[in-house]
């Protein structure tokens, strides 16, 4: 029974991941590729590895700040796309995994809150997911292009994770709890990470044109909005068929 429900959530996520991959090719991926032409700093050239020969890929992987900083002194990780996939294949696979993960998280949220996700309220569930995972964190850390200045990766990832969790809890308090104190607390919880402030780079100069950055931020948020609405509807429709959990 448990496995069946998990498979339904995963299936809805996989399908949303496929749709996301198509939507991403319209605007988001072309903007990333365009920005990479400007991303020519001496230490930040590992993106070139994605499209170049294996030998260069290995070299770039070794030079990459990701490997140096995060391989914990272990030089075995040399980067490159897994399973010999091309760039599109890698993106599709990543979107399938991400979609399945978000599908499971959305399903878990509906179980924890006791509010079934249906075809009817799927758009609202999707909107909540988009707010918690995309829009609210983007207030502090807007979707960034390769080559953009940014603060320390660990700091940003930690802030991002905390913000996602607080945003989800805040949305629950604000939307699903009827008490006035809960709604006020919800707003406080949602605002807290922004009052604390996201990690910001000390030097904001960038070789990437600002116009591309502005276009990308909007394109990324619009594309993920499409993904989350699709996921909410697909998961709701699938749960309508599979049966809603009661109890």
């Amino acid at each position: 029974m448990i496995i069946r429900f998990l498979l339904v959530a995963i299936a809805a996520g996989l399908l949303s991941g496929v749709l996301m991959t198509g939507a991403q090719e319209l605007k988001v991926t072309p903007l990333i590729v365009h920005a990479e032409q400007y991303e020519n700093g001496p230490v930040d050239n590992h993106h070139d590895a994605i499209r170049t020969a294996p030998a260069l890929k290995m070299l770039a992987g070794l030079l990459s700040p990701i490997s140096e900083a995060y391989a914990h002194g272990n030089a075995e990780e040399t980067g490159g796309i897994l399973f010999g996939l091309d760039r599109f294949g890698g993106t599709l696979m990543a979107n399938l995994v991400t979609g399945a993960g978000f599908g499971l998280l959305l399903f878990a949220a509906s179980l924890l809150t006791g509010v079934a996700i249906t075809l009817k309220n799927g758009v609202l569930w999707g909107a909540a997911g988009w707010l918690a995972f995309q829009f609210l964190p983007a207030i502090g850390l807007p979707p960034e292009l390769p080559g953009f200045p940014a603060a320390d990766l660990y700091d940003r990832q930690a802030w991002w994770m905390v913000t996602v969790v607080l945003s989800a809890m805040g949305l629950y308090l604000l939307v699903l709890r009827p008490e006035i104190w809960a709604k006020i607390l919800g707003i406080v919880v949602i605002a807290a990470p922004h009052v604390y402030g996201a990690p910001q780079p000390t030097d904001i100069a960038s070789d990437v044109p600002a116009l591309l950055g502005a276009e990308f931020a909007v394109a990324a948020l619009a594309t993920t909005a499409f993904f989350w609405v699709a996921l909410g509807l697909l998961l709701g429709g699938a749960m309508d068929r599979a049966g809603h959990v009661e109890g």
Partner: protein, 59 residues
């Protein structure tokens, strides 16, 4: 209307529901973390465009 009356329900007790919720939550976190946040050069390069598109903090 018709869809409402045909909506199926599955009865699970509290423990079963929470077990399912936790299984779904943990597996979901594992997948999203691996695709979006894990500090592996190979995972990063494979998921590169997705990480940017979803606004995950990246390099």
């Amino acid at each position: 209307m018709a869809s409402q009356s045909m909506t199926k329900t599955v009865s699970l007790n509290f423990t079963q529901r929470m077990t399912l919720a936790m299984a779904s939550l943990l597996l979901g976190v594992f997948l999203v973390y691996g695709a979006g946040l894990a500090n592996s050069a190979a995972l990063h390069d494979t998921a590169h465009d997705s990480r940017h598109a979803y606004g995950f903090p990246c390099h």
